[in-house]
Symmetry: C2
Subunit: 316 residues, 2 copies
Amino acid sequence: MAGRVIGIDAGGTKLLAGVVDEELGVHHRTVRRWRGTDLAAVLDTMVEAVEEAKAADPDVEAVGFGIPALVSADGTSHFSTHLRLEGVAIRALLEERLDVRVLVDNDGNLAALAEQRAGAAKGLSDVVMLTLGTGIAGGLVLDGRLYRGSRRFGAELGHMVVNMNGPPCQGNCPNRGCLELYASGPGIGRAGAHAAARDPQSGIGQALTSGRVITGELVTDLAFEGDPVAQAALASVGKRLGVGLASIANIFNPEAIVIGGGAARAGEMLLEPARRVVAELALPPCRDGLRIVHAAFGEDAGMIGAGALALAGGDV
Amino acid sequence: MAGRVIGIDAGGTKLLAGVVDEELGVHHRTVRRWRGTDLAAVLDTMVEAVEEAKAADPDVEAVGFGIPALVSADGTSHFSTHLRLEGVAIRALLEERLDVRVLVDNDGNLAALAEQRAGAAKGLSDVVMLTLGTGIAGGLVLDGRLYRGSRRFGAELGHMVVNMNGPPCQGNCPNRGCLELYASGPGIGRAGAHAAARDPQSGIGQALTSGRVITGELVTDLAFEGDPVAQAALASVGKRLGVGLASIANIFNPEAIVIGGGAARAGEMLLEPARRVVAELALPPCRDGLRIVHAAFGEDAGMIGAGALALAGGDV
């Protein structure tokens, strides 16, 4: 166990870095936008972020990175949807340039780890986390340990089919009707656009008519401003999220499901309908006692989890 | 670790019992039909089966029971769909009547344990098993251990929604469009009845016209006899099974998925289309290297798993 480490969350649009202590407190938090998404630019930005954090706290003993990719045990990135890291031995490349131990894991796994170690599901043994963003990242803490699958490519809970007759999934997922299609940020945007077209007099309908792109962010903003049609669109997304959570309840019988990510900003407007659907559709023994809660760490979850990974030397 | 134990699989229609040795070999195998499905009759039949096995091998040191119910850690049955065991402290009741240690677990969990310890997935760390019967029982071996969920009510993989707009699920599941609806024995029967109605000249169509009930068993028999319409019905079930397996591949990234149970008797007629769908729809890193295989132990899996549970004193 190291005393202090650096945790870095390398997201699709930006990088969050901080020094993380043994209680998972964050110090010297910084944010960097990517200067480019090609490998050299991404690595340079990562190295600079580590060097800046080390300048602030020279005693850090390891660096943990969370990246939006499937990451094998040797720290090689597979199937990245954002940062063009497909097949890149990211850990080896970073260790070449940094004189400190480097650990790399999937961002969804690390967010779950953070919430289970110190956040909304602190101390619970069986926790499932969904991070709703451009896609849906999943993370599983089972029997108190991170479960990643045989080659560490599992926990892709966003790519659980909820509608086998549904439209093609997003990005480079070859499936149809995945949960991600319905309950991600773009899914909220699609539900909002649909509602806007049906009800052009509503606030969201007028936004559509005036030529605005109906994003998940806009739907959430309008719902917070009181537009009932935007609120209904969020409720419909929450219900579909609930269908996925009912399956998760039956599969894992977790103590808690934690919902985080930028697209979960609508809060109870999403989670309240999701909870009602779980109460209605999950097997009663799997539903009873299950907590469906908001993430505690917001967008810091991946960074804090990366710190927890580095603190434990990868043994999480 | 005991040297020899009794393993019992208490299924919906009958009970299988045997003496199980440390290599999970079975001796003195017996089958009993239930004389009734009320609690007293079920317990009497269970006790008689144990006493018969003990007469054959007096040195057995424990008894493991697999039952078609959700079973909490204290050996109490919850949410049983067949044997009217809802809320029954089955382990305590049996220990009262038997002077030997009793362990009780869900039958789907134990089938997975058997296949992972000594069967089709022997020695693998991450194994998912589906037992296709009247319903679908699930079992999960993750990181080499049985994963049951926080209160042991998980691994209900048959109650993963694949079609949120589908018809109501079977039995006392409150959900809609669960995998069990499509890929269980009754699901095969429904697919066959649908195909028979569309094609009355086919073998299965003539069976329907002549008033026969189109069960999964009949569909499988006719498919083995060469009826192309029955074969196509099985292929359509296999494809829907594949949709569920693609989600399972993405969620668990297992090394193997084992398919067993009486309704899987159609063999490759089910699994070949399921494999093709997984190859097409799962995330490539989760699909690569995944084996989708037939169970090795047939209907003995639950009994052998019950033996494995008892041999390990429940520490599986």
